[in-house]
Symmetry: C2
Subunit: 143 residues, 2 copies
């Protein structure tokens, strides 16, 4: 009943990048160190965040990554849906269930999942960055 | 964003056992064959369902398993909480997050998860067994 590490790392990365002052770029090394995320995994996450339009990269010796859109335009539910490989709470095809298609359990779980995303639909990345104490802790190391 | 196979198999097992006529016992072999669940994993699931008070076992050559309580007393949310090893949508301790404790993301995910379980709280096992077409398909093989 957990999000994948891939989604978790995407959320942490966006929170870090979004917490920095507007003129400050983040680096893979900073984020990797900050959250103890293995560098190889983080690079895959950052690449996907770039391809999906959440991050942009500035190349060069003073380069780094920053948000590609304002934090209040990054929706948490949408991000999770982009990153989770499987969204359905159970996989009726593996192993194959003889009552898939007409199963009340599946319908109940789908309703529950809709309620889950309905809550997150109301959160943007900007909402996640509203706790000054927490956000200051994020930024300290990068200064 | 999926339930574990362990929880999935527990739900399938209870649906099968609950779908049988009241005087008919289920066997591990039947359930394993019906849902293509590996026998060893299924035995662990059935043992836990027994220890948790959902199933009871009758020993002997005509023995088998049956519900330990009526289907309308088995709550789907409670069962999932019993079976999921980790309930929190992300694990802030692995890797260790510097803003755990004061993080808005965690609070948002906890609210979303509460909404997920609030929906399932209204379902009992009996509710999952109300689709005659699906349930007949479950029982056919056992007759």
């Amino acid at each position: 009943m957990q999000l994948t590490k891939h989604t978790d790392f995407a959320l942490r990365t966006l929170m870090y990048v979004g917490a920095l002052p507007i003129d400050k770029l983040a680096t893979i090394s900073e984020i990797s160190g900050k959250f103890e995320i293995p560098r190889n995994h983080l690079m895959k996450v950052v690449n996907q965040l770039g391809r999906s339009g959440y991050l942009k990269t500035q190349r060069g010796p003073k380069g780094g990554i920053q948000l590609a859109v304002p934090a209040n335009e990054i929706n948490v539910a949408a991000l999770i849906k982009d990153f989770e490989v499987r969204l359905d709470p159970i996989n009726c095809d593996k192993p194959l269930c003889p009552i898939r298609g007409g199963c009340e359990l599946k319908q109940a779980l789908n309703l529950a999942q809709k309620a889950f995303f309905d809550v997150l639909q109301s959160y943007s990345l900007a909402d996640l960055l509203k706790q000054p104490n927490a956000i200051n802790k994020l930024i300290i190391v990068s200064d």
